[in-house]
């Protein structure tokens, strides 16, 4: 026996692997599994779809376009490019209590923040507070790298340059008087953006770090003076700046502006008339864009999203429909003689 084994050095190993006899599970699908399977999956999808749809229905959304395209719209005068510091009031009313916490977004449409060359036009080293890149911004920022006098722009690049600079104040009209709704601008940016991705240079005061640089061409204030009310909310870690720097996926998008979480409006916006005081700076008409503000409350699934629920319902129903078709085919195929 031993001799025999010795003699056959060429003999292949007799293992399950080499002989391709690995133990395996071979699912034996049959109509009895497939059709009910389809029905079950379809039903599950329909279930999810219903849940999403119902949840989505429960979310209140108020969307107000304030671009001012129409002549009678309140912001129409501000669309004149020559007007500086134009302020317009947009009035709206709420019929029922707008459940809190209310999220306050601004929205842009036909705005391609996902354009590649736009997206890459920033300097990550500079934005993480590396002072050497203050002097010589990365070439990726082109053409917003240096100004006409060849001074470095900080923050450089198109994304920063095109930062949204409309500001909003919300008032409730209570007995004819304006009552300001306090807006919470803290924590609207991502935690990682605020704490890791974007850092101010460790220079105090912050202003000194920006010596020898210029602000982006489009900006009215330098980066270290973005929020005069809160010194900590300046430079690259300004919340609005961070929100803007997080590029949108698609040409129609919203970005979180403020949250209404404290004070009298913590429970939501009560029914009544409101005025939105818009400081209108951001030009969008030149490229056919639109600006809007959106008030929305959120659920477990975030903001209102009817598409997802409907899509689930459609696909779920398709599965159920398919299983019926299969059943018919199966019946025809199985008992052909009975026809």
């Amino acid at each position: 026996m031993v001799k025999q084994e010795k003699a056959s050095a060429n003999r292949p190993d007799n293992t399950a692997f080499t002989q391709q006899r690995l133990p395996a599970w071979q699912p034996m699908l049959s109509a009895g599994i497939v059709i009910p399977g389809f029905v079950l999956i379809g039903l599950a999808f329909i279930g999810i779809g219903v849940a999403l749809f119902v949840t989505s229905r429960g979310i209140q959304v108020l969307e107000i376009d304030y671009t001012g395209v129409e002549q009678n719209s309140p912001c129409f005068p501000c669309t004149d490019q020559n007007r500086k510091n134009c302020v317009c009031d947009v009035n709206f009313s709420i019929d029922t209590l707008f459940q809190g916490p209310v999220f306050f977004y601004y929205g842009l449409s036909n705005y391609f923040q996902n354009y590649r060359k736009y997206g890459v036009s920033k300097d990550d080293y500079q934005l993480s507070g590396d002072l050497s890149y203050f002097k010589a911004p990365s070439s990726t920022c082109s053409p917003y790298e240096y100004d006409k006098n060849n001074k470095p722009i900080v923050p450089c690049g198109s994304v920063a340059n095109s930062m949204f600079n409309d500001t909003f104040k919300l008032f409730q009209i209570v007995n004819g008087a304006k009552k300001q709704v306090s807006l919470d601008g803290k924590g609207i940016a991502w935690w990682t953006d605020y704490n890791i991705k974007y850092r101010n240079p460790s220079v105090t005061p912050l202003k000194n770090a920006f010596n020898g640089t210029v602000k982006p061409l489009f900006w009215s204030k330098p980066a270290y003076e973005l929020d005069l009310s809160d010194p900590a909310n300046n430079g690259f870690i300004n919340q609005d700046f961070l929100v803007w720097m997080r590029r949108a996926a698609l040409p129609n998008f919203r970005k979180l502006y403020r949250r209404i979480t404290d004070g009298d409006y913590a429970q939501g916006l009560p029914a009544g008339n409101y005025t939105l005081e818009v400081s209108y700076n951001y030009p969008v008409l030149s490229f056919g864009g639109r600006k809007k503000v959106v008030f929305s409350n959120v659920s477990w699934m975030g903001g209102k999203n009817e598409f997802l629920g409907i899509a689930y319902l459609v696909i779920g129903s398709m599965c159920v429909f398919m299983s019926i078709v299969m059943l018919i085919v199966y019946a025809k195929f199985k008992f052909p003689e009975e026809d």
Partner: protein, 1160 residues
Amino acid sequence: MAKESVESGLSWEVRANSHHYHKHKQKKSLLCFRWGRYADNVVRSYKYSPLTFLPLTLFEQFQRAANLYFLLMMVLQCVPVISSIPWYITIIPLFIVLTVRGIKDLANDMARRRSDSEINSRPCDVLISQSFNTAQWKDLCVGDVLRIHKDQVIPADLLLLCSSEPHSLCYVETADIDGETNLKYRQALSATHTKLTSHPSEEALAAFDGVVLCEEPNNRLYTFRGQLHWGGECHLLDNEHILLRGTVLRNTEFAYGLAIYTGADSKILRNCGKLRVKTTRTEKVFNRVVIGIVLSVLLAALFLAIGNGVFSSRVMGQMGVPSGLVVDSNPAYTGFLAFWSYIILLSPAMPIALYITFELIHTVHSLFIGWDLEMYWQQAEKPAQARNTSLSEELGQVGYLLSDKTGTLTQNRLLFRQCCIAGEIYGDASVRAEDVEPMDLNWNPYSCGGLFMSAPSLVEKLRGQQCPLSRQFLAALSLCHTVMAEWKEEAPVYQAASPDEEALVGAARELGWVFLSRTRDFIVVSELGVIRQYQLLALLDFTSKRRRMSVLVREPEGGLKLYCKGADIVILERLQKDFPYQERTEEALELFAQACLRTLCIAVRSVPEASWEQWSKTLAQSAAMATSDLDALLEKLYDQMETELQLLGVTAIEDRLQEGVPETIALLKKAGLKVWVLTGDKKETAVNIGYSCRLLDPDTRLLEWQELRQILQAPDPGVSFFKARQTELWAVDTETAGAKTAVVLTGPELAEFDQRPEWGATFMSLAEQCQSVLCCRVTPGQKADIVTLVRKHTTSITMSIGDGANDVNMIKTAHVGVGLAGVEGGQAVQNADFALSQFRFLQRLLLVHGRWSYRRISLFLRYFLFKTCGFALVHVWFGCFNGFSAQSLYETWFIALYTVFYTATPVMCLAFFEQDVSAESSLKWPELYMTGQRHELSSPLMLSLSLLYAVYSSLVLFFIPFGVFYNTAFDYQTMAVTVSMAATFTATFEIMLLTKYWTKFSLAALCVSVVMFFICTRITHNKRLFEREPYEYNFIGVSDKAFIDPVVWLTALLTSWTAVLPSMTALALNVILTSHDKHKVHSVSHQPVALNSRFRRGTPLRRSSYALSQGAGPGRLITSGTCIRSTAPPMDEKVTASNNSTDSQVQIHIKDNNNSLNGT
């Protein structure tokens, strides 16, 4: 003189013993310059030298469109302006691919070098200054005189000068050239024989200064034209004086030869064909698809680039400062840049990883073939071997199997299995030869085994002197033949030109009638111990036309007897009328035919002295006439003698098939393969083997050349063929009629195809309807031509299988070449793509490994296309919503890792382990193989469908997340992660649907891949990496948020489910429509393929043949005494014919044989 020779085409000049003269003119080459005339005797099958390896391998590799494409991608990615993904994503895999390929090629080349040097360094004896020195084959040069030892392989094409045997005869085995294993004799010119053997041979040979003028090197194995100019005389040379390279010297102590063609000029190497690189059909189809993909990518990129230009120009005209949409130059230029960026961005649709994986899968499949114990041959300790690792899926699509006969289908052993004497049948053919109980033959001192027939009753009768017929029968066997006896260790060893005869004489020896020796005039036989000497009066030799041979002997008692053996039809019509046992003999013939035994009828006739005298006179006269129709005259005379015969019996010889051949062929036929036999052997033998290995059914109608030619020439070959089939009475059903026809062709007939190329297509369409095609007497070159014919006129995959050097060309020519390693490893294996030890392993190689491999690779390719295209094409749709700016929808790391880490292992497991049905079921249900023959799984249509499916899934992958994220606060990076997740899930779902055979590896691979996605994503979104390389790891923190967001999960789930829904539905419908079929395959036990045609109703056509070497038998050598060693100095052949009758007979034989030899 030389001028004349040149004019007659004899321009190849060889001067004996002038090494330096020829050495000087040897072919040499430097770079691309070549000069010189004579090839050296070195085999060079390698491609690379250390210097040329790198440039050559790179050149070869970049000839593949894919590699060039990847190189272009890499270059593009190095240009920062357009680089939408980083350069290292392509260069690393490309580098790996090039290195792996290069190393593989190098290893193959080294193996070739090794085998070359093994051949080149074989020893041979070369005459150098009056003595023979051992040299190596590679040192040989045209004009050298060589000494060949017994059993030595001949190193070059030689002119036989003389040999150690009488008359300078020598025997060669040409198995490697034409597949015939019987010995052939070659004889030197009498001039060289007499002058070179008279002295001590070295001296005489060293002084030999003849000049040979002959044809230029060519590939015609059976012809040779030349002249030897020596001593002022000119001698004509023909094929009989030539020893071909690759043949083996047998039964001859020494032979001396002059090298005429060496190395690449030798006839066998001229027949070898070129080494060609084989690519599989699937790969070709796939390459076309790849080109299609590349073109579509270019087109898509073009459209997107135009879109980009338009977008830029629109935006540029209107945009104010605030817009971030930087357009810093003219739109045409941005569009141009976007074009290249999109090409880069869409290039993952055709990833290089595909090629790496493809290669890997092929290698593993090859390993599986080598590992298979069922294809391991215990006796030779040889496993199967895949020498070419990239053809495994081709094994699953073979439509035509072109097989050699000798050594492949048959073992070349002929066994005497049965006989019928006086209507009594002895032996039983239904018992396997190995299982036959050996008879007790101790009483016979000459018995040395080898009789696979058990017939004690016959032995009893013989020894008991009861039955004179059986005694005569055996006497006939021991007398009527052309076998030589050589005495070795007290026992006669038989040398026969025909293996049939050897078997018959051997059987007679075992049964007590021992052929002891022969001289020119006498045959000595020991009959049950009594030595008797018969005088040989005449030998009426075999020709393929006569199909019989006879001997006329004078018995020791003085009587004249004619013993005759031959094909049944020929003998039966020459018998006395109303011979006894007629019915029972015919029954026996039928029975033997059913058992696929080769039969011969043995008959005897007592010749009256008077008629003999008259006959011999007439014979002598007609021989003297020497007219042109001597042949016909002789035949008539022979006919006169072979009449009024008395039937003694019938012999039945089994031509041993290789183990399991009939079963294998039956199985392969069931699997839809067309099996053709291409052999250098005779037609009779080939047809007989065709029947015995179940290639032809007993009632198969053979369509021979004359008929076929008429059909081919007819205006409408199809109709003529149909008619030809219908001429048979039994052909009631046209369907079966078609299946029951086989074409039999021979080499010379095939040559006509060269002149009529238009017949090829017609012939193939006819052959398609036939059961089989047998091609006999074909040269290696013709074998390859037939393969080419099949390749050209059908879309099927061809496979050649053979074992000898004569099969090398067809092995190289076919899509897949299989070499049988058999007992001795041969040239065939060296050149084959797959090496097997046994023909029957073909079942498993094709039906199991081939089928699995084809299925696995097709699934793999389709899946790979689906997953990569589906994933990459998303960018086209995304382009419409980002200003056609070549923005990637994925993180670059995801693009890099998707094909490698997230989706690679499950599909590899699929390609390694997938089995739709088990090996046993594959063999039980050969019909399953037809899927591959129809190329169903890898057809362009299927691949296009996969692409279409990929397009669909890319649409889903983009538009569902688009719908969800449109007009929301979700950012680009979250969407990127969502789509990535959906893409990974889609690929995972799809592979789950495809996998039918879940091994632990498949399951692990699947889980690991999905987990890898989450882990790697988390890693690349990690804080540390970001701090190190902010540009590369820009997605910091995205997965933290995305992986806990229910919307992301729900979107990914919905997307991937919707993406695989068509595949899921197709699968479900397939299950519903075919459920019971599959069930059958899986569960119902089924009898293995039974050879149900073994005994069937009706009268099978009897087959009887007398297989001798091509052309005529060696009768003249016997009657001339040339090859009889025991005789005293041979008589001069040129004695006048009137001397005695035997001598006239000699003359006639010489003539007869020369004619028939020239005729073939």
